[in-house]
């Protein structure tokens, strides 16, 4: 019996687009408004006293819901607790061509770090843990609520263009050893 001829495969593109329209929760609305106003708002847990930035409307460690009565302002100065030097490879959407630094920054008054913050104003190999930094605020007219979402863990990118050296002396590791990430 003759072998059947191999049928040529029929290929079909099938692209899927899903559209989502979401409202920001009240705590994120206030956080976003604060950023546009040049302030960074956190929530202080009434049980553990940790200050959570960006605020989530609750403390997940103590299982406590929080509201505007738990909000306070934290500093725009902080400490680098860990960082990665990224040597960009070309992939779809990558706009960077030169090495850059993504750092975790522990803001003064906050109990957790902001992740993925770009450290600017000095060569990548000069960035170090314990280094003191300050936020590079966008001009007031350029600040937006971009990056805010009802999903995920929040962002400051609509108002802050990364961090730069504040000129303060480095702090000892004991200050940030619980926040190295």
């Amino acid at each position: 019996m003759a072998e059947p001829e191999a049928a040529s495969a029929i290929m079909m593109d099938h692209l899927v687009t899903l559209t989502y329209v979401e409202d920001l929760p009240p705590n994120t609305v206030r956080f976003a408004e604060g950023l546009v106003d040049g302030r960074i708002i956190g929530e202080k847990c009434p049980v553990c006293a940790r200050v959570i930035v960006p605020p989530k409307g609750y403390c997940s460690l103590d299982m406590v819901l929080m509201d505007s009565s738990h909000e306070l302002e934290v500093s725009d100065h902080g400490t680098v607790t860990g960082f990665t030097i990224v040597a960009p490879v070309k992939y779809y959407g990558q706009t960077k061509t030169e090495p850059f630094v993504y750092a975790s920054v522990l803001l003064d008054g906050a109990s957790g770090t902001l992740g993925g913050q770009e450290i600017k104003g000095l060569p990548a190999d000069k960035v170090r843990d314990g280094m003191r930094v300050k936020a590079i605020w966008k001009a007031p007219a350029e600040r937006t609520t971009d990056g805010q979402s009802a999903r995920g863990w929040g962002s400051v990118s609509g108002a802050i263009d990364g961090f730069e050296s504040s000129g303060e002396p480095d702090v000892p590791k004991d200050h940030y050893k619980d926040h190295i990430i």
Partner: protein, 353 residues
């Protein structure tokens, strides 16, 4: 081996709303805290936590991980997740407690559908070759099922309207309902079709919301409350994915699950059925053999509140509530998953004896 008796000792649900501005973890935490408080337990005593949700609804990759923020996961906990209605999370927790080494479990289900477009989203869960490219959405499948039921002579559009009128009237006394109202079935039948032969009143609304249940072993349950609600039987059965390969006018998987759960013709005072369309109520009554002595969906059922991924867990809560308050001696909760009653769970509840 006989299953260990397990009871429901706490429960809570958020109000079902068309569009919540709160995040899904915030909704979950409200429900979880209230269920823990109602059970009167310390959350640190919970031995296992299981959640049911669907990332596609809220549009957040790994949204179910963020929902763990609401589970009290510090110090670290033992937990699991099902991409299914929270009722299947309850089933997993029920199995987990059977191991015998823990005596309390937290189960929650949640859905925030409002950011997405269900008619666009749901076809994605169908097979990618034949059904998904058609854009076959749940409303259309529900209408095909209702049409098959009418064509088979098993129901009339007046039957559908009667079920809607009863459900929406009952939902008026449900503080968590999204839709309710006092309607004359004859007036309902004057409305235009939204997807023939279904009218708006035949279709469950889509709600945002969350629900939670605390399960306990029998000993722990009796120590916690004078009115534990025991799960006398629970089972789930599934049919083929392709709706065209099934008789859509019947639900043999519901019948099989009910038999395994121990229904066997016994009296059921209250049945909470996960009928997402009035036509499905007709099919489920028949599949479960429920007659006039059973009160169907006294909460208003999914036609009143449909927090997708928690709608089934809410059925168990509403049934448990009727047993706990003495309205029902024996209650049945039905839960469905998939398209056109593809996958069904039946749970039979009783008070202590």
């Amino acid at each position: 081996m006989a299953a260990t008796d397990i009871a429901i000792v706490g429960w809570a649900q958020t109000p079902s709303v068309e569009r919540s501005t709160r995040t899904e973890p915030q909704l979950c935490m409200e429900a979880n805290l209230a269920a823990i408080a109602k059970a009167g337990i310390d959350r640190h005593d919970i031995g296992f936590t299981c959640a049911g949700s669907c990332d596609y609804l809220t549009g957040g990759p790994f949204a179910f991980v963020a929902n763990l923020d609401a589970a009290g996961a510090w110090p670290p906990i033992a937990e699991s997740h099902v991409e299914m209605d929270g009722a299947w999370a309850l089933y997993e927790a029920w199995v987990r407690i059977q191991h015998g080494d823990i005596d309390l479990a937290l189960v929650f289900g949640s859905g925030k559908s409002s950011p997405s477009n269900p008619l666009e989203l749901y076809p994605q869960q169908l097979d990618p070759y034949y059904l998904e490219p058609l854009g076959l959405d749940p409303l259309s499948i529900g209408a095909i099922q209702a049409r098959a039921l009418l064509d088979a002579g098993k129901a009339t559009e007046a039957d559908f309207a009667a079920a809607a009128a009863r459900s929406l009237r009952d939902a008026m006394s449900n503080p968590n309902a999204q839709a309710s109202g006092d309607h004359d079935p004859a007036d309902l039948l004057k409305a235009d079709y939204v997807c023939a032969p279904l009218r708006a009143h035949d279709v469950a609304p889509v709600s945002d919301g969350a629900a939670a249940i605390i399960l306990a072993t029998a000993d722990r349950a009796r120590a916690l409350t004078d009115s534990p609600v025991f799960i006398r039987g629970i089972d789930h059965r599934i049919e083929v994915h392709q709706p065209g390969m099934r008789d859509l006018t019947s639900s043999p998987s519901t019948t099989a699950a009910a038999k395994k759960a121990g229904l066997n013709g016994s009296q059921i005072d209250v049945a909470e059925l996960c009928a997402l369309f009035t036509s499905q109520e007709v099919i489920l009554r028949d599949a479960l053999g429920l007659g006039a002595s059973t009160t169907i969906n006294p909460s208003g059922g999914p036609l009143g509140a449909n927090p997708v991924m928690a709608t089934g867990l809410v059925r168990i809560i509403e049934a448990a509530q009727r047993v706990a308050d003495g309205t029902a001696g024996r209650a049945l909760a039905h839960v469905t998953n998939g398209q056109g009653l593809q996958h069904n769970l039946v749970c039979i509840l009783e008070g202590d004896r």
